[in-house]
Amino acid sequence: MKIKGLILVAFMGLTAAHCGDQGNNVTASNGSGSSALNHYTAKLDWQSPLAARTPVSAKLTFLASNGLPAQSVSNIKFNPWMPSMGHGTSTADQRITAVSGTSNEFLVTGIFFSMGGDWEIQLTATVDGTTDQAAIAVSVP
């Protein structure tokens, strides 16, 4: 009886040990999102390897609804948000600066994802005189 019990416990332990390394690592990619009222499309290109718990940078490009570069962009709010967990992250070190010689490109530095997983960038901007919101999905490794 004791041997049967030992075999049972050993089998379950081995099963647990082998099952521990499941899952694939998350891959990161650039992304884009159209605003809620289709006034603009925002495109995000990561300038540094996308990672959690370390500051990263991205180039943000705004296109008007006709697909051409937006003529004027202002009042940009860039808010990383983790929808599945219902929380954001620190934006204290985040800076948004216009890329010289362009009307629609911006460099966002100091973006900090406090953990890996499925995030979205909640974006608000006034593009060509109209304020609208967009969301860009980001998968942080």
């Binding site: 049967k4 019990g5 030992l6 521990g20 690592n25 954001g88 997983g117 499925d118 942080v140």
Partner: protein, 300 residues
């Protein structure tokens, strides 16, 4: 009245002398289960002290992929619990966890959410009927008092997080076949977190169902090994009345517990558990925990 008292005393003696600590237990108790402390029918007051260390944190996203975890690299915990029985069939416990979150350069200590739990045994084990299980009803409440990810003041390192941010109420049932050397148990609980507002945004976490299956072997009257698995499923988050898609959570965990009874009034328990250990998992965290616990009956 005297007859009833005599019967109660006799029942306590019989249970205490013939079954303890062999027969009693439960599927959802112990460091890998829901409640760290349970009381056996002949125990009036009992204390619990546990030291634990959790490490190997990884996040699991909605697709089941692994990602970098936020918060501490390691979490140490000291858990204190006290239990009091009201009759042969019912008892209540209060559990207070304390934590030390260890980051790369800093460590922060704090108190977690206390747990008030009670169990009522609707079917007592019978030494003459080993196939009849012990059946317990479970009810508990966990008031949220610890800082959570929703009100952390350390939004980069997240070292000051010691709770979920939501009070919750739990009910369930625990079935335990503990009369023979080979043991088996099942438990099912349902937990409803309460709605809470942070920074003007209302959060309503969904219902959580937790299923536990435990088996084990009583090697001697003083040594017992248990192994169990948990499946915990949460229906997802609703924010300002809107259900967030792909926010459902799923976690399959496993635990192995080694019990040693130096005497009938003392228990030393070593537990290894792993969260998100097997099967499909999503929107959860993977981690491994080692816990050493000591229980002592201070009044029988």
């Amino acid at each position: 009245m005297l007859k009833l008292a005599a019967k109660t005393v006799a029942a306590s003696l019989i249970l205490g002398c013939t079954l303890l600590p062999k027969a009693f237990g439960c599927a959802s108790c112990g460091s890998g289960g829901d409640d760290p402390l349970i009381l056996y029918p002949n125990e009036r007051d009992k204390t619990f002290l546990a030291l634990g260390r959790t490490s190997g944190f990884r996040n699991v996203n909605a697709s089941g992929g692994l990602a970098t975890a936020g918060g501490p690299n390691e979490r140490e915990n000291l858990t204190l619990a006290y239990g009091h029985s009201f009759s042969l069939r019912s008892f209540a416990t209060i559990t207070v966890p304390t934590f030390r979150n260890v980051g790369a350069e800093d460590a922060v200590s704090g108190v977690g959410d206390p747990l008030i739990a009670t169990r009522y045994t609707i079917l007592m084990p019978d030494i003459t009927e080993p196939l009849i299980p012990q059946v317990q009803l479970i009810a508990s409440f966990k008031p949220s008092q610890a800082r959570s990810v929703h009100n952390s003041k350390d939004s980069k390192e997240l070292l000051d997080i010691f709770g979920t941010g939501f009070s919750d109420a739990r009910a369930g049932i625990d079935i335990w076949f503990g009369q023979t050397a080979q043991k088996f148990g099942l438990a099912q609980t349902i937990t409803q977190p309460l709605t809470r507002t942070y920074d003007g945004v209302q959060y309503r976490p969904g219902l959580t169902a937790r299923s536990t299956a435990t088996t084990g072997y009583q090697w001697t009257s003083a040594v017992k090994t248990l192994i169990g698995v948990n499946r915990e499923q949460n229906l997802g988050l609703t924010v300002d009345g809107v259900h967030i898609g792909s926010s459902e959570q799923l976690n399959h965990s496993i635990f192995v517990t080694q019990d040693y009874y130096p005497s009938v009034s003392q228990l030393i328990r070593f537990t290894i558990s792993k969260q998100a250990a097997f099967g499909a998992n999503k929107n959860t965290a993977q981690s491994s925990t080692f816990t050493l616990a000591f229980q002592r009956t201070i009044r029988s």
